[in-house]
């Protein structure tokens, strides 16, 4: 593309096809800002769950980055290590794990996230599913008990030592030396006890490492949306759908169906809607497509939480949404200027 042709009298002129200027946007700046947006959430996680949050997040990031480095070499790629994308995956993945999860499991899941979730499909840009969620889903399938054992937030000795479960040896049953308890969602599901909305919003509850403080997650989302590095339509569509559906259900039978604020603020919905579903690679590209995608995910969340066997359904809802993305992009295309609506000729692919 770039050819130098000598100008005999003076200088070398470089010929290049226009445009001659670029905006300066780049993949690594986008990824870097996602990390920035996740920092307050991570800080709060460490505050709420203590040392174990720090080690979980650290192990998740290290596992992902190491996996990325190794697989880059195996795949012979020019390398996508410097672009922060593995850090983003690692951090997001770590934030979805229960604190106190044995660190070796964290590492296995991190490898799977990058290996199966990303590199198996061709690396950055080609993953059909959000890699962080792929890693988590595989852990959930492999270690269902460890993945649903929850430490309470804000315990007294949380900065002094790690819970024993975190240091469990590989393939050994983790033992818990601290009190474990239900998350607000499982408390509702199995005992019909609803946590106060204010505690949920501020994160004074038990749950996955980074999913508890709804306020900080929203702030991070606003930060990215303002920088135009995130499609705000996706979280808005998801949250609106969840709010609407759960409000209708709650109005029908308040004792059985949780209220809209509870549904919005509990579990992994906020983190999922703002940071997971908005993964650019695995979400639709058009604005209307993004809304359809968000509505589908929102509806699935309510369906799984309400009628499914598990208390939480955000992860599977998003993965299913990811799976629909190619279909959505195929069906919802931008209408090209000067073409009437009639044209939706099959273009193949």
């Amino acid at each position: 593309m770039t050819t130098a042709i000598g100008d005999p009298q003076r200088r070398t002129l470089v010929i290049r096809s226009s445009p001659h200027i670029v905006s300066g946007a780049s993949v690594d700046t986008i990824m870097f800002h996602v990390v920035v947006a996740l920092l307050p959430i991570s800080a709060f996680a460490i505050y709420a769950f203590g040392l174990t949050a720090l080690t979980t997040l650290g192990a998740a990031i290290v596992a992902c980055v190491v996996a990325e480095a190794l697989l880059n070499r195996v795949a012979g790629n020019s390398g996508t290590l410097g672009d922060w994308s593995a850090v983003v995956t690692g951090l997001l993945y770590g934030l979805t794990l229960p604190p106190g999860l044995p660190l070796w499991m964290v590492a296995v899941g991190g490898f799977l996230a990058i290996g199966v979730g990303k590199f198996l499909f061709g690396g950055l840009g080609y993953n059909p599913f959000n890699p962080a969620l792929v890693g988590r889903a595989m852990l959930q399938a492999a270690f269902p008990v460890a993945m649903t054992t929850w430490l309470p937030a804000l315990t007294a000795g949380r900065f002094a030592r790690l819970p024993s479960s975190a240091l469990a040896l590989p393939f050994c049953e983790p033992t818990y030396d601290v009190l474990t308890g239900p998350t607000p969602l499982s408390a509702w599901k199995f005992d019909h006890v609803a946590e106060a909305a204010s505690d949920l919003a501020l994160g004074y509850v038990s749950g996955s490492t980074g999913e508890t403080c709804a306020v900080l997650i929203l702030l991070g989302g606003v930060y990215l949306a303002l920088r135009r590095m995130m499609s705000w339509r996706i979280p808005v569509a998801i949250l609106a759908t969840v709010a609407l559906l759960s409000a209708v259900l709650h109005a029908i039978e308040p004792a059985r169906y949780a209220s809209a604020p509870f549904m919005l603020l509990s579990g992994g919905l906020m983190l999922g809607a703002v940071f997971m579903a908005t993964d650019m690679v695995s979400s639709p590209m058009t604005h209307p497509g993004a809304i359809v995608y968000g509505v589908v995910i929102g509806a699935l969340v309510v369906v799984i939480r309400t009628w499914g066997g598990m208390p939480e359904g955000v992860m599977y809802a998003i993965l299913l949404g990811n799976a629909l993305t190619p279909l959505i992009d195929q069906q919802i295309r931008p209408r090209t200027y000067g073409h009437a609506h009639r044209q939706r000729k099959a273009g193949g692919a």
Binding site: M1, T2, I5, D7, Q9, R10, R11, T12, L13, V14, I15, R16, S17, S18, P19, H20, I21, V22, S23, A25, S26, V27, T29, I30, S78, T80, D83, G122, G123, L124, G125, Y126, S231, M280, V281, S283, M285, T286, D329, R333, P334, R335, T336, Y337, G338, H339, A340, K345, A346, G347, G348, A349
Partner: protein, 411 residues
């Protein structure tokens, strides 16, 4: 001095080698309708009629004129054309003979564009004062300094098109130009000056038609298909200036800028002047590595400074190592499907998808399923792409291939 003319069908030279010509003398006649006349930009001797370097890198036929040293360069004019009394056909012919082409850069013969096809009706005349690209400010200067000529030009165009409504479009960062035009509007002519949001690529005529009138030009069509004709403000001013004198185009306003240029500004430059002479006159930094004609988004990089200024040259921009290095060093990433290009595309294509198809050489699919041929190569997609994928560059190649295939299909 070389002259190149390559808009539609080439003009036919009417001078011989060795002949002496006077500035303003017609030296080539139009060949057919989509072709315009050429005039001697200087008084001098025709040295040679033969190949001259062009911006495309190839040699094209041209006329070399050696200017007389110390000549007064008085201009030879032709028969004038009165805006009040001339008929539409007379005006069309006069525009063609004056050698007027779209000065916005496309270089399409203006009279051919102004000829309303049978069965079509033009209700609105749009005068395009929305600069076609960033960096360029020629239209701005023309609107400030030649508002009267714009108005005279509009008189001719109104007769030609029969338009009931006339709108001059100016972007919001040129309030002074809008003011200057408003002051120059003669009473009773009913010319509106509309201020638009600053936006690239609004200067493209289809975009302007939509921005001003809310009418969408059908794919493959022209603004006349939705009842309007759009001309560049500089072209209009040129018509207003030349026709009353019966003169032909000899010079044009060009923005010379970019970090590599010492004396930046807008200059009125004689057509046919070699680039090297122009740049030497304004002064060029030593580390200039790229010179391009036009704006930074669509301009063409030149391989040699020996090529001449043509009627279609809107700007001359010189970049130094610092600017070019930044673009050259970035690494291309896989598409991360962020959708920025979809948001940036002014005609709502899916550049991301087109880019993938282009990479795999699926050109026909691009044209049939994704409207490739509607792309007018504004470069916005490449500009915004965080993965630095040369999208528009892919599309240029693809369009060429598709046209080739189509030409083969219809023997």
């Amino acid at each position: 001095m070389p002259i190149v003319q390559h808009i539609g069908k080439p003009a036919v030279p009417t001078v011989r080698e060795g002949q002496e010509v006077t500035r303003g003398q017609r030296i080539a006649e139009p060949d057919g309708f989509v072709s315009v006349a050429m005039h001697a930009p200087v008084s001098g001797t025709v040295r040679r009629i033969g190949p001259v370097p062009s911006i495309l890198g190839q040699m094209v036929t041209g006329i070399w004129i050696q200017p007389f040293a110390g000549s007064t360069q008085e201009v030879m004019d032709g028969p004038p054309c009165d805006p009040e009394t001339a008929s539409a056909d007379e005006i069309l012919r006069a525009i063609q003979l004056a050698g007027v082409v779209g000065l916005g850069g496309a270089g399409f013969p203006t009279h051919a564009k102004l000829k309303i096809p049978d069965g079509k009706h033009c209700d609105t005349l749009l005068i395009n004062g929305a600069e076609c690209e960033p960096y360029l400010t020629t239209d701005h200067r023309v609107m400030l300094e030649h508002a009267e000529d714009v108005m005279t030009g509009i008189r001719y165009l109104r007769t030609l098109t029969g338009a009931e409504r006339i709108v001059i479009a100016v972007e919001a960062n040129k309030q002074d130009a809008a003011e200057s035009l408003r002051k120059a509007v003669p009473p009773g002519l009913g010319i509106e000056v509309q201020v638009l949001q600053v936006k690239y690529p609004q200067g493209a005529e289809k975009m302007l038609t939509t921005a001003l009138l809310g009418r969408e030009v059908p794919s493959g069509g022209l603004p006349i298909d939705v009842g309007c004709v759009c001309t560049n403000v500089a072209t209009t001013a040129e018509i207003g200036q030349l026709l009353p004198l019966g003169r032909g185009i000899q010079e044009r306003v060009i923005t010379i800028g970019g970090p590599g240029v010492r004396k930046k500004g807008n200059y009125r430059i004689t057509i046919g002047t070699p680039l090297r002479f122009v740049l030497d006159t304004v002064g060029m930094e030593d580390d200039v590595t790229r010179v391009f004609l036009g704006g930074p988004m669509m301009g063409q990089a030149v391989s040699s400074l020996d090529i001449p200024i043509t009627k279609g040259t809107t700007g001359i921009i010189a970049f130094t190592e610092r600017e070019t290095g930044r673009v050259a060093k970035v690494r291309e990433y896989p598409c991360i499907r962020c959708g920025s290009c979809l948001e940036a595309c002014p005609i709502f294509l899916n550049p991301s998808q087109l880019g993938l198809l282009a990479r795999n050489g699926r050109y026909e699919e691009m044209a049939n399923g994704y409207h490739l041929l509607d792309c007018f190569e504004c470069g916005s997609c490449t500009y915004v792409c965080p993965s630095h994928i040369p999208l528009v560059q892919h599309f240029r190649v693809a369009k060429k291939q598709v046209r080739k295939l189509q030409a083969k299909a219809v023997p």
